[in-house]
């Protein structure tokens, strides 16, 4: 029995807890992508770099607050800097809409043209971020590090195997729940949210009703920027901030949005967790897990790892391909790709 508990603790420590945190981050990222797709009708490839831009502003403000001695006690100072990050990120995406996307919207351009334009915005944003903060790793987490330490857990339960829950992981999950609840309340209960859904349902009719398209577009961008900054900051707190990593995040984020059904917010969340759990369960080495459960004589020679972590992005690719082959509209019905 104790072996089973130990095995479960081990799995929680290395798979379940990290996957929930990573899944929450992907879900928030995918929500941004899916909203832009549903309402503005294009795949925004700049979303990963929007995340890194927002996070960069948060980091700069965090450093400033730290230098002035302002902090939130046990919570990371970055939370205090978050509203500023969201604000600057929103201003940036609104400007990019004003100077790039609006031109194509007026011309009623094909989605593929927006897509290419968004690749351009992606490179520009990427350049700006590297220019300002540099291409290196930045660590900006402060405050308490852990909610539960391995040693405390062992003392508490008497198991051999410890479980660690980092503060950033708990924070990520809680923030995700709060943000998603607020977003769904907004989309389903408020006039602005319903306008956005209406615009997403039928653009022509929305234009002929009392829906101001400029307002819908602006609100969509502001929400996408907020989601991107929050997702980016949580990812940065959990791991670390590096512009290139954020650019690479684009793949699992898109995979999450497509797996769940592009344009469907509920799908984006489900997709985020599907991708995160697959990536981590497939690249985890099960050697010690098996040791707990099997008799000693059965001890495995290898690591029992299905795929090296170097290949973790391949997991997103494979899931993406499978979903596109089997269910092109995603798990939940989206607007399609």
């Amino acid at each position: 029995m104790e072996n089973w508990l130990n095995a479960f603790a081990l799995l929680s420590n290395f798979v379940i807890v990290p996957a929930i945190a990573y899944g929450s981050q992907l879900a928030l990222g995918a929500l941004g992508v899916t909203l832009v797709f549903g309402i503005l009708r294009f795949s925004n490839f700049a979303h990963g770099d929007t995340m890194s831009l927002g996070t960069m502003v948060v980091i700069l403000f965090t450093w400033w607050f730290q230098s002035m001695g302002i902090n939130l006690g046990p919570l990371p100072t970055a939370l205090l800097a978050l509203p500023f990050g969201i604000f600057f990120c929103a201003v940036f995406v609104l400007l990019s809409d004003r100077f790039v996307y609006r031109f194509y919207r007026a011309k009623r351009a094909d989605p593929v043209i927006y897509l290419i334009a968004s690749v351009g915005i992606m490179f520009i944003t990427n350049g700006i971020v590297r220019f300002i903060i540099g291409p290196d790793d930045q660590n900006f987490a402060d405050g308490e590090r852990f909610i539960i330490r391995a040693r405390e857990f062992k003392e508490m339960t008497g198991l051999d195997q410890g479980v660690t829950i980092k503060l950033s992981q708990g924070l990520t999950f809680v923030t995700m729940i709060v943000v998603v609840a607020a977003l769904f309340w907004f989309l389903n209960r408020t006039r602005s949210g319903k306008s956005m859904r209406a615009y997403s349902d039928n653009e022509d009719l929305a234009l002929l009703s009392g829906i101001n398209p400029d307002k819908v577009v602006a609100i969509t961008w502001i929400i996408a920027a907020a989601l991107a900054t929050i997702a980016g900051t949580l990812y940065g707190l959990d791991k670390s901030f590096k512009p290139f990593t954020y650019f690479q995040l684009l793949l699992p984020i898109f995979a999450a949005a497509i797996v769940g059904g592009l344009g469907n917010p509920l799908g984006a969340i489900a997709g985020g967790f599907v991708i995160a759990f697959s990536e981590i369960t497939i690249t985890y080495a099960y050697k010690r897990f098996v040791e707990y459960l099997m008799p000693e004589s059965w001890e495995a020679g290898g690591l029992i790892q299905l795929l090296s972590t170097d290949y973790k992005f391949a997991v997103s690719f494979i899931i993406l391909l499978l979903v596109l082959l089997v269910r092109p509209h995603g798990i939940f019905k989206g607007t399609g790709v």
């Binding site: 602005s192 209406a198 349902d201 009719l205 009703s209 009392g210 307002k215 502001i222």
Partner: protein, 258 residues
């Protein structure tokens, strides 16, 4: 009220509307008829701001509204419906109607989060209005159904309902009767007449059903090959040789005869 002055719309080399001029008098229900491909819907689209005209002007109460965006025209009280009914399929019928009035405080992010009383009051007014419209159109039984699940005829009623949510000056109806059964068509016709009499809406109606035109419209404008061919009461139109010729092969002559 609406004056269209030598309007031309070309798509590439094809001229869909050719120097069409017409006037729609305030308080009238003007019918717009003509064979398929006569340019009726294109004319509607240009007037309603969906397409920019190649040449010519559109005036609303003497004001030049040529090429204004659809939502700008909506502000001026000019509404339209679609030949193929459009609806917000993932919203309920009531929500579809509540979507229509513009400038609601709930559209501003600030008010949504920090001024909920103002938002709620306005929303309540709009809800009452929507319920009146639902009552008027006798669609209470589907009021909370998703609009995407309605039948074709019910969607047409919803189209008409949208125009009743605001105080429209002029409403353009593009084949409200298409694909609608007789009973429903009569309901729609009655609703149009009531809106015209009681609220002073001006209507411009594209329609193929001559009985429907006969019941509602005076005057009737005939279009053919992108131009206005004739204008007058339905009886005058029926007697017009040119019109009969334009319709030859599409059977108006028979319909007129019967």
């Amino acid at each position: 009220m609406i004056k269209v002055d030598r309007l031309t719309k070309k798509f590439g080399g094809f001229t869909a509307v050719n120097e069409a001029s017409l006037e729609i008098a305030a308080g009238s229900i003007t019918g717009l008829i003509g064979p398929n491909g006569a340019g009726k819907t294109t004319l509607f689209n240009v007037i309603a701001g969906v397409h920019k005209p190649s040449k010519g002007h559109v005036y609303l109460d003497g004001e030049d509204i040529t090429g204004l965006e659809p939502h700008a025209l909506f502000h001026k009280g000019m509404l339209r419906t679609f030949q193929v009914a459009h609806e917000f399929f993932s919203l309920s019928v009531r929500e579809n109607l509540m979507m229509v009035p513009d400038e609601q405080p709930g559209e501003a992010l600030w008010d949504v989060w920090f001024n909920s009383a103002k938002v709620r009051d306005r929303e309540e007014q709009v809800r009452i209005k929507a319920n009146e419209v639902i009552e008027f159109l006798e669609i209470s039984h589907v009021a909370d159904e998703l609009a995407g699940n309605l039948s074709g005829g019910q969607k047409k009623l919803l189209e008409l309902g949208r125009t009743m949510m605001v105080d429209a000056k002029v409403v353009f109806l593009d084949e409200v009767g298409a694909g609608v059964n007789r009973t429903l068509l009569n309901t729609i016709g009655d609703a149009i007449i009531r809106l015209n009499k009681e609220r002073g809406y001006t209507f411009c109606v594209i329609e193929h059903d001559m009985d429907f035109i006969d019941k509602l419209c005076d005057p009737v404008i005939v279009m053919a090959e992108g131009s206005v061919l004739a204008q007058g009461t339905l009886d005058e139109i029926k007697a017009n040789e040119q019109v009969i010729e334009a319709y030859l092969g599409t059977g108006l002559k028979n319909r007129v005869a019967s």
